[in-house]
Assembly symmetry: C2
Homo-oligomer: 134 residues x 2
């Protein structure tokens, strides 16, 4: 059984469910508040579930926002690297899958004699919807 299809525990599944049903990235304490009726009482329970979900690639953290988002890509390989488009108007987030980013960044790193392992990329701007409205 591969890591990706491992059964999640109750807490992990609860946290993943709420992230998957959210249209926007959520903060840890928002998640906590939303699922207290399901028996999760402390921040640590949320953070531990998030840690595991991030480890297996089901969830990514958006560093600049201290927010967490469920990955929609089947068998996402972004267990380590992440690339997001973040709308400054409506805060919606789209994950980029462009694999050529890897080779591009490797090259940029190589120029500095730096050995590329992974990356976080956050691109800010206006999403398609908000472009129309503004």
């Amino acid at each position: 059984m591969s890591l990706e299809t491992l059964n999640l525990t109750k807490n992990q599944q609860t946290v993943l469910d709420i992230l998957e049903s959210a249209s926007e990235p959520l903060k840890a304490y928002t998640i906590l508040f939303d699922i207290q009726k399901k028996g999760i009482k402390s921040p640590l329970q949320v953070y531990r579930a998030l840690d595991k979900l991030i480890e297996i690639g089901k969830v990514h953290k958006i560093e600049s926002r201290n927010s967490y988002i469920a990955c929609k890509h089947e068998g996402c390989n972004a267990k380590t690297s992440t690339s997001f488009l973040i709308c400054e108007n409506c805060d919606s987030v789209t994950e980029l899958t462009a694999n050529n980013l890897f080779s591009y960044f490797s090259k940029q790193a190589e120029k500095n004699n730096f050995n590329y392992k992974k990356h976080n990329l956050e691109i800010f701007g206006l999403c398609a919807n908000c472009k129309l409205k503004n």
Copy 2:
């Protein structure tokens, strides 16, 4: 007089000095601790100085580390966008200046009908020094 050469206030200069003399990115409370002898007593004084320094491009924040680094580039245009190489072994940070990143990211964004404004990029791996040692 351009923004870049504006005189800094006492607190701003104090914070910038310590960041410029540091070989590594510093955390806000590390800065606070280090400069308490210079009359800065509260976190807010540090954060306000950092905000201003970031605004004028003298300092950048490394989001994934909650750390701050002085910009070494004269007249750095990275008031908004930042690109870093971060060594996972020694935590040293190098800022990339590659301007072609802008056009590359614009194109990636455009594919998603997204209007690029700015970005944060953090590339993790091994720096030149640590590559040799490992």
